[in-house]
Subunit: 438 residues, 2 copies
């Protein structure tokens, strides 16, 4: 398809996540014609996906239509399509709606979770990257309680009431904490034959502590907060097998098995296939998980027209450590490449990208969080308040912010999670999968 106003410098952005959207918005006053391409029609606030997975928020609370966000920016068009190939020599991207040519290409398509070479585990251990992942997880969690209520078999009930979360990074910790709240508070009184609070929630982490990217004292505080919510944390536990009715892990030299019907995956990332393709076409290097190694100015070597940002980019800070795959990095990179393009068009040079780390935080449930803001480390209630306001501030669109705040205030006061809907997906697995004898 043709791009209108094609005499202007054409910037094509693949991906409307934190990086791609920040780049698009920062190009507002740059004399370029921007096309933002995404498979989905919305920008997703991924850090709050675990709230959808545990029924606290609705999908629409954490997603905003890309067209709405960019409505007033006249130099941009949004395209709902999937990129399937990149023709580096011809400066064109092959998409599901035709071939798009560009003068500068920004690749910001992010990552998926990795099952360490066991992609077949995904069917039994859903991950958490998309809205559909979150509603799938929500269905699995709520159905497990339903199935436990419907069975008379004590062992089967025990298996349905055992939840295993793999990986204690921010996603795994927040998920396990929210599960603890769900079991101990939200569902209290909902059932007649089971006590939801008797659910066993196990968090498996391969390294020696939860939140391994955080300072050790905050890890310890997070672990104590998890314990208060009834979450069993097993560190140094490496998952070796996942099946529909159990999970195996190695710990202290021994192999252990947990009988469970619900395994939730919060571990590992692998780069999008587009990263591998880009490396093949340009000779760029890939790191261990498939991220594209970029130059200090986020271009690919020998290709000043190809920029990679966000989770897909392997980029190092001044000390040579790779930057983490978090929203602030992607957003700063998006703004950087916009400036880099403006400078290039104006014939100016741009200093290399430098990440300003404003800290990291994770929440473990109602009123409990840990935050490392660099100049101060918070935990407990103050950290939770900081977490709340920072996340609200970054939620796209005033409307969502207000609704989410009310929904959270309501959750907080009543410990209720209103979005506890078991909705179908595809094959309509909406009734408990377990057949029980009379």
């Amino acid at each position: 398809m043709t791009v209108p106003n094609s005499h202007a410098h054409r910037v094509l952005i693949l991906g409307g996540g934190f990086g791609g959207l920040a780049a698009a918005q920062a190009l507002r006053r740059v004399p370029v014609q921007v096309t933002l391409l995404d498979r989905r029609n919305f920008h997703l606030f991924q850090p709050l996906l675990y709230q959808v997975a545990t029924g606290g928020l609705s999908p629409a609370n954490i997603a905003a239509p890309l067209r709405s966000i960019l409505r007033r920016q006249r130099n941009i068009q949004v395209l709902l399509a999937e990129a399937t190939d990149i023709d580096v020599a011809e400066r064109a991207v092959v998409t599901s709606v035709g071939r798009l040519t560009y003068d500068t290409l920004i690749v910001a398509v992010g990552v998926r979770h990795s099952y360490f070479g066991h992609d077949d585990w995904e069917a039994f251990a859903p991950g958490l990257k998309t809205l559909e992942d979150a509603t799938t997880m929500r269905r699995r969690i709520l159905q497990a309680f339903e199935a436990a209520e419907a069975t008379d078999d004590v062992a089967v009930r025990r298996a349905w009431l055992t939840f295993v979360v793999v990986g204690a990074g921010p996603t795994g910790v927040e998920l396990a904490g929210a599960l603890g709240e769900l079991a101990h508070h939200t569902l209290r009184g909902d059932f007649r034959r089971i006590d939801p609070a008797s659910a066993r929630i196990v968090l498996l982490e391969g390294t020696e502590r939860v939140l391994p990217a955080y300072p050790p004292d905050l890890s310890a505080k997070a672990q104590r907060a998890l314990a208060r919510l009834g979450v069993e944390v097993l560190t140094g536990a490496k998952v070796t097998w996942v099946a529909p009715d159990h999970v195996c892990f190695e710990r202290g030299g021994a192999t252990q098995t947990l009988i469970t019907r619900t395994v939730l995956w919060g571990a590992g990332v692998q780069a999008s296939p587009l990263g591998r393709l880009l490396a093949e076409r340009t000779g760029a290097e890939l790191d261990r998980v498939g991220r594209v190694v970029v130059e200090p100015n986020l271009t690919l070597k020998g290709h000043p027209e190809l920029l990679v940002i966000g989770d897909l980019a392997h980029c190092r800070d001044r000390e040579g450590r790779p930057l983490p795959g978090v929203a602030p990095v992607a957003m700063q990179q998006g703004r950087y490449v916009a400036r880099w393009i403006a400078d290039r068009l104006a014939g100016r040079s741009t200093p290399p990208f430098a990440y300003h780390d404003r800290g990291s935080m994770a929440t473990i449930g109602r009123g409990a969080a840990v935050a490392d803001l660099g100049w101060v480390r918070l935990s407990g209630y103050p950290a939770w308040l900081a977490w709340l306001f920072i996340h609200l501030a970054f939620l796209i669109g005033f409307h969502n912010r207000l609704l989410v705040m009310i929904q959270w205030a309501w959750c907080y006061v009543t410990r209720n999670r209103a979005a506890r809907l078991i909705t179908k997906e595809g094959t309509g697995a909406c009734a408990p999968p377990q057949e029980v004898k009379p």
Copy 2:
């Protein structure tokens, strides 16, 4: 499975819609043991489904978990399961979680839409009875605009921008009105190549006027309100064929064809298969659309332990006219059968069921509605306000009411519809289905 406290009179309710839920709640102080069985874990406020279908509300705004609603009612247990057969002689229902015995059975499983014997049309013309129906419709509508934006072919674009709604009952009228709002206001400025306001919205009705169950003057007002929103109303139009890219209808003796990619079904109902089963097992009569003809006390002839309520029941008012399939009828019948059971256990007799018609209403967009409350007929803004407050009052749970009110207030002020998400279903048809040449 076994029912606890099984020495009490056991009431089994099939279906947690308006009828089943009202019956369950009205049995609160009756000395019976109630089991409420539903395929879904939530009660759905069906009259607002069209708001989900057009991106105004989120699924969780109009659905509340059954367990939450009934949490404090100690004589009830909720079961997530599907009823597959009824053993009338043994007083047992066969379900996906085993066999359940009862002393009294309340069947309240409702209806689905009917395609007049053309069930194959459903794939091209989705109806609107479940949450999944609504998100499917939402995806279809939003994708149509995306596909129109992505194509360069004028005829193809025209087809994507033509929306046909079949049936001008309350569902069809409200859907067509919301589509008009979406095209003319909400999406304004969202696209660069198409003007959403140029979308053609056609409402086809088989009878001679819209809202045929309403007084003629309100029908005329509704039709004028639809015209103001750019909806073309074609009355006396009988649909004869639906295909993926066109719809045919007979009108004034001639067959006409509309080229369209989006047909939305708001016509006809057919009773659930459980109705047919119940008739076979008891000799009860079925009406033309498969509803079960009930006695004046809502039992089946010769079976005082079998009660049918809500949309599935064919019940006549004092003038012999069948009652409409609307929420107020179902709720009043639910409360009636609870009283009937209490009276029966106490050895009292109960007068036949009598429906108290408090009126009917439909909304046609922002600030426009029609209402026939019996003692007064409203239209325009006053009718819309009445509609708003009555629907809010009946929404289950304070939390949802507050959220919905804020979302509506926001919609009203900004004409924005925040829940415009194209989410996948099963096969992941999230990119525009239309391949366009470069």
